[in-house]
């Protein structure tokens, strides 16, 4: 009754490449089915941003001043976008640690499957997830009076910068995920949350104590936020510092640098799981 199934071995580089994408597709598809079938994940995806926008926009927002003037909620939204992209690193980390703990990583590694396909699938699924999150947040922003003012082209560039940051953080997430347990990955929330606030996300660094303001200005997140405010035409004068004056190139340079460091590191870490 059993059909004997002969192992298929890739013959050419092209075939190997095609398989990498096929493997990536299968893994990404599995991950996306999770999102669709998991009601609490969907609720999180929809509700969390809405709650955060209301909380920061109206509860704290009533006490906030925007350096250089302007509406706080207009100032806030680019910060929320970038913070959400940054916290996406948690998603990557938790899935990577869970896969390792459940033995999924071991099975992948014991299979004749391309290593890069596994990672590619992870990256695709995370990016689709982030696009959805961003779409929900855009909707929330529009609902509280935020908008873009400098045309669709600039707005799309800003969204591209946000996704570029998320893309860079996939590699940080995979690298850390391969070193941590699921428990410690969940605890990464603790240091990560303040780091997303020690930036120009919610408050201008100008209004912080000197040393804190300096850290905040150089936070990679600040570059993306400032560049987005500029591209969307949202208020938020960044200050006189070099970092603030060069937000746009920095919003490209930081993610590229993160990718250049953490992509090889996570590939190396994955290869060295056999030590």
């Amino acid at each position: 009754m059993t059909t004997l199934i002969a192992p298929v071995i890739p013959r050419s580089r092209l075939q190997r490449l095609r398989w990498t994408f096929a493997d990536g597709g299968v893994i990404a598809r599995g991950n996306l089915i999770h999102l669709v079938r998991n009601p609490s994940a969907i609720l999180n995806l929809l509700l969390y941003p809405a709650v955060m926008v209301l909380l920061f926009g109206y509860v704290f927002g009533s006490a906030m001043n925007v350096a250089g003037g302007g509406d706080y909620r207009e100032f806030l939204m680019p910060g929320m976008f970038a913070q959400t992209m940054t916290l996406g690193v948690m998603t990557t980390m938790i899935i990577v640690t869970n896969d390792a703990a459940r033995g999924v990583t071991d099975r992948f590694r014991s299979m004749p499957i391309s290593r890069s396909g596994v990672v590619l699938g992870r990256a695709c699924a995370d990016m689709v997830n982030s696009v959805l999150e961003l779409a929900v947040l855009l909707g929330c922003g529009l609902a509280v009076g935020w908008s873009w003012h400098r045309g669709a082209g600039n707005a799309l560039t800003a969204l591209g910068l946000l996704l570029l940051l998320r893309f860079a953080l996939i590699w940080v997430g995979i690298y850390l995920g391969l070193m941590l347990t699921p428990e410690s990955a969940s605890a990464a929330w603790m240091p990560l949350m303040p780091l997303t606030m020690l930036a120009n996300t919610f408050v201008s660094p100008e209004l912080m104590p000197g040393w804190m303001g300096a850290i905040s200005e150089w936070n990679p997140l600040s570059a993306t936020v400032a560049a987005c405010r500029e591209l969307f035409g949202n208020p938020g004068w960044g200050g006189d510092s070099w970092a603030a004056a060069h937000a746009l190139p920095l919003a490209v340079a930081w993610p590229v640098a993160l990718t250049l460091v953490f992509l090889p590191l996570s590939a190396r870490r994955y290869r060295r799981l056999d030590r």
Binding site: M1, T2, T3, L4, I5, P7, V8, I9, W19, A22, D23, V26, I27, G30, I33, H34, R37, N38, A101, R102, G103, V104, D106, R107, F108, R109, S110, M111, P112, I113, L273, D274, R275
Partner: protein
């Protein structure tokens, strides 16, 4: 090339250190094709490390391992086409259905969509999961998950299957289902190497048992050979009244041909016997005739503790859990 005649798994002097203590310290093993080998040992003996080296997940520091005819260090890709692995945790996706899980693994083994679907159907039938194929795995019992995991490891009908503690944490019914699945795999011609902490499990399934301790195999043979090495089955006797202990010990000594080990606090006597049923019948009859009230009489296989005691000459630090392994209690 490297093909070793009719041996599915060969390990020679494999060593692996994590930091200070060696996990494998000169591990040797030879498993003939088409047989089931039980790798038996307590936690921390090196069972999982051995499986990880043999399945290309871990690189050994020294020694040589050949699986399905290929050296695991030199030709890992060739080995991976010929093995299946079911680790200690069922690597199944809870959100997907049983069928979707198997189709996904089939696609990752690069079967085309139609073949993956057909193969998933065959495996669901074979592992008794057809009726629950469209249910999400989160609604599966522990035994069903393990069987699904075995099915996933079996997508390519690999020539060597590695099962790391396939029944740990399962209740007896689920465990029996998994045992049945393992027998199916073995019957289909695959070589199976499974780790276990339980002698009775290895006894049920394996043609060959290798006892591992401190990273090396300290005994290797058929279940019968191993058991006779340890002294065969045991009679466990608990008397109701401590006053009857001395006389019961004499009865048991007569049946066993040697003095039993006594645990006066628990009013328990234990002695190895060779003629299992004959000795048990004699003991029960004698005790009845002498009017010694008995709380419990059991015939059981040696526990892993006793195997270790006998093989290493010293009691391992293992707790008593897992000590009451044997089923066929007669009371």
């Amino acid at each position: 090339m490297e093909r070793m005649n009719s041996l599915a798994v060969v390990a020679e002097g494999v060593r692996k250190h994590y930091g200070g203590a060696p996990a494998l310290d000169g591990f040797d093993l030879a498993v003939p094709e088409g047989t089931v080998c039980g790798l038996l040992g307590p936690n921390g003996a090196g069972k999982t490390t051995a499986v990880r080296v043999l399945t290309t997940l871990l690189r050994a520091d020294a020694g040589r391992a050949v699986v399905a005819g290929f050296d695991v260090a030199a030709r890992p890709a060739e080995v991976r086409y010929r093995i299946g692995l079911a680790g200690q945790n069922a690597a199944v996706d809870e959100i997907l259905t049983g069928r979707e899980n198997l189709e996904m693994w089939g696609r990752l083994y690069h079967l085309d969509a139609a073949t993956a679907r057909r193969r998933a159907g065959e495996l669901l039938d074979r592992f008794g999961l057809a009726a629950d194929a469209e249910k999400r795995v989160k609604h599966y019992s522990g035994g069903m998950r393990r069987r699904l995991d075995l099915a996933a490891a079996f997508v390519l009908a690999p020539s060597v299957l590695f099962l790391d503690e396939p029944t740990t944490g399962l209740d007896p019914r689920n465990r029996d289902e998994v045992w049945q699945a393992v027998r199916e795999l073995a019957a289909s011609g695959s070589t199976v190497l499974m780790t276990t902490q339980y002698l009775f499990e290895a006894d049920q399934l394996a043609h060959q048992i290798a006892v591992i301790d401190a990273g090396r195999v300290i005994a290797d043979g058929s279940p019968d050979e191993l058991k006779s090495m340890v002294g065969g089955d045991q009679i466990d006797l608990v008397v109701r009244d401590a006053a009857g202990l001395a006389e019961a010990a004499r009865v048991l000594a007569a049946a066993a041909g040697r003095d039993p080990v006594a645990d006066p606090g628990a009013r328990r006597l234990t002695a190895p016997v060779h003629d299992r049923i004959g000795a048990l019948t004699e003991v029960v009859r004698e005790l009845g005739e002498r009017g010694i009230a008995v709380e419990d009489v059991a015939l059981r296989r040696p526990t892993l503790d006793e195997v270790f005691l006998s093989l290493t000459g010293e009691r391992t630090a293992r707790a008593e859990e897992g000590g009451h392994g044997e089923e066929d209690r007669a009371a």
